[in-house]
Symmetry: C2
Subunit: 133 residues, 2 copies
């Protein structure tokens, strides 16, 4: 596949694909003249990258998690990231509920609605001890 096909399938601009290759997130399997040639499997890699980005991971995180830099991957890192995601999922659920409520609530300000404030505080409680909030 050439870069424009990858771009069309993935929806990512070619500039981003080159950027990702430079960062080592994806790889081309060779060149046709000057032009990069990609294995179709790059699409799966890109899916994973987009997914990770969407989950709020940095490109470096993604790189560390999925580009085995030795004989084996870092299982602990993966498990740790899974745990982080779990925490985040809980927060997002609360946030979503808070938003849904706020969209329906008639209180003049969200901060004057006890239900909304309660949701905020529940979230606060769930967040270990990294912040005092």
């Amino acid at each position: 596949m050439d870069i424009s096909k990858v771009s069309k399938i993935s929806g990512l601009p070619t500039s981003t694909l080159r950027f990702y290759e430079e960062k080592g997130l994806i790889h081309s399997i060779g060149r046709d003249g000057l032009r990069r040639v990609f294995n179709p499997s790059v699409i799966e890699h890109l899916k994973l990258i987009l997914l990770g980005r969407n989950a709020g991971l940095s490109l470096d995180d993604i790189n560390n998690m999925f580009t085995a830099k030795g004989p084996d991957i870092d299982r602990e890192l993966l498990a740790a990231k899974a745990d982080e995601l779990d925490k985040k999922i809980n927060e997002l659920v609360s946030m979503r509920d808070g938003l849904r409520h706020a969209a329906a609530c008639t209180a003049p300000s969200h901060f004057e609605c006890p239900k909304f404030l309660r949701l905020l505080n529940i979230i606060g409680k769930k967040r270990g001890n990294t912040s005092k909030l």
Copy 2:
């Protein structure tokens, strides 16, 4: 409250608090000489801001969602953001499951593990039609 107290309670550096004030995300209720004075309720605002940031919202989004710029808030925006969050939550759940599996899986590469690839594709399917992946 003075800025250092807000900083201690919130865990945010004073520079960030000033920055947020400048952006209109929080407000001080006055000055004591030169120094900003905050109402304790700023803590609730900061909770919400941190929560939003954690959910991947931009400061501008947060500002639009929670600083009523007219008599009424934008309920449609809130509901739309709630829907976005719902989508994101689904993705994060899949991602988390994928990571948990990858941490345990013995396949030489994640991309050679059918189960992992299946998870990726399930996610792909869930993502409306904004991207072709």
